[in-house]
């Protein structure tokens, strides 16, 4: 995997009081507004995760996943992880799970281009 293809962040998967937190990296060479990013889906151990109540956290700001498309003036710095908060899903710290994440990126200066990115990795819950 090339560095630019990485979408599961170094901080991995962690348990939070209300569910799980998954680190995500931007698969592009430069920062992009969050409005150009779509989370295509998450599976844990092969089972699709319901993202209806999911939130995205970056640099102190939190948005409902469904409102990511409105964030035209919030930039995902290419070196930093953003975090996907998934409420209502529990996992035991220390347990291992196969996580698959799909991200779509539509670079805002290349009309019509939509890149599909998928990464699957076994993560130990922190």
């Amino acid at each position: 995997m090339l560095p630019v293809e990485r979408i599961i962040g170094e901080e991995g998967l962690s348990a939070t009081p209300d569910g799980l937190r998954l680190a995500m990296r931007l698969p592009w060479y430069r920062s992009l507004p969050f409005s150009t990013i779509e989370v295509g889906g998450v599976t844990i151990d092969g089972a699709p995760v319901d993202l209806a109540e999911a939130r995205v956290e970056f640099d102190g700001a939190v948005w409902p996943l469904g409102e990511l498309g409105e964030q035209t003036n919030a930039f995902w710095f290419v070196r930093d992880s953003a975090f996907l908060h998934i409420p209502g899903v529990a996992a035991t710290p220390g347990s291992e799970h196969e996580v698959a994440l799909t991200l779509f990126v539509s670079p805002p200066y290349i009309p019509g281009m939509k890149r599909h990115n998928l990464q699957t990795q076994t993560l130990r819950v922190a």
Binding site: Y29, R30, S31, T72, V78, R79, I110
Partner: protein, 338 residues
């Protein structure tokens, strides 16, 4: 050293590097900005550098006074000279919807111009996604800020492309030293880099697919049409979609226009992207004919900076440093007339 070469050294084209060459160690967090600047300086790759605002600055497009001051201190301590800041013409902020309106796009450029100026850059790279009719509005702002703007002529564009010609006409009309060109040599590649083909082979692409890629790449037509042609053929012949995608990268970053066509743009060239993919043992670039291209600029009176821009990170995990050292040596040799 005779008088002629002394003059070239003093006033001729300069070499430098864009931090984009080091995208891999940047994304893997091997270096932070300060350490990367010092590494570039330590290896003697400066002093002139280019930085992509949206790659290296967390606060871009609105850099604070405090960060601008930190940055100026960082580059001064490293002994580097921040020549060019690459800015972006992001028109399509909501995928699948209408582009942002002209006023918003102009303001988006002004924000980036102000940040670049504040950090001490002397020019910005901008993009053709900025419609040509907005240049009369942007140019006075750049003049007032005293920062030059160079539009990047990047594959699939080249000197003869209609968009480049439309910009050229507007440049003639506005006739200001604040607007110019930044050639990117990927638009005049003579062949597809072997390193790129090897990367496609490493993903499992078959030789018949590579052969077809080479054939379609030199045919006339738009990049996305040619990519579509290869895809259609490849699927019909039973090639894997992943292999076709890996092979098709070549259509989007390289095109095969005449290397001598840059001659038409030399006069208003303010900066150069020395795009490259791999340096051979013979000291030449594997795909782009620098021996033909660089003398056009050297003999045409270009006195700005050529920044080495290694883009092999699109398909290789290397850190880019060795490649840049070899590329700079080649460029200096050709600029010196050897």
């Amino acid at each position: 050293m005779n008088i002629a070469t002394t003059q070239v050294a003093a006033t001729g084209p300069q070499t430098g590097v864009t931090l984009y060459s080091f995208t891999n160690p940047w994304l893997t967090r091997k270096f932070d900005l300060k350490d990367l600047l010092h590494e570039v300086a330590r290896r003697g790759m400066g002093p002139n550098i280019e930085i992509i605002g949206f790659q290296s600055f967390r606060e871009f497009p609105d850099v604070s006074d405090a960060f601008a001051e930190d940055f100026r201190r960082m580059v001064a301590e490293a002994g580097l000279n921040p020549v060019s800041c690459a800015i972006n013409s992001d028109r399509f902020l909501k995928p699948g919807q209408q582009p942002i309106d002209d006023a918003a796009l102009v303001e988006y450029h002004k924000r980036q111009l102000r940040s670049a100026k504040k950090m001490g850059f002397s020019l910005v790279r901008y993009q053709f996604a900025l419609p040509v009719h907005l240049l009369p509005e942007i140019a006075p702002y750049a003049e007032a800020l005293d920062i030059r703007m160079g539009v990047e002529v990047h594959a699939p564009m080249w000197a003869g492309h209609p968009a480049v010609q439309a910009y050229g006409e507007m440049y003639e009309k506005l006739d200001t030293p604040y607007l110019g060109w930044i050639p990117d040599f990927g638009g005049t590649a003579s062949r597809i880099p072997e390193s790129m083909l090897n990367a496609a082979r490493a993903t499992g692409a078959k030789e018949s697919l590579i052969d077809k890629l080479k054939e379609v790449w030199v045919e006339p037509g738009m990049s996305h049409e040619k990519a579509g042609r290869l895809r259609e053929w490849g699927l019909a012949e039973g090639h894997e979609p992943d292999h076709i995608q890996a092979a098709g990268l070549a259509f989007f970053i390289l095109s095969n226009h005449d290397p001598k066509s840059w001659a038409a743009l030399v006069d208003r060239t303010i900066h150069i992207h020395g795009k490259f993919y791999g340096m051979g043992d013979d000291g030449r670039e594997e795909a782009i004919d620098y021996e033909t291209i660089l003398p056009l600029f050297r003999d045409g009176g270009f006195t700005g900076t050529l920044v080495s821009e290694w883009e092999g990170h699109a398909y290789l995990s290397d850190d880019g440093f060795d490649q840049v050292e070899k590329h700079q040596a080649m460029c200096r040799r050709i600029f010196a007339g050897h």
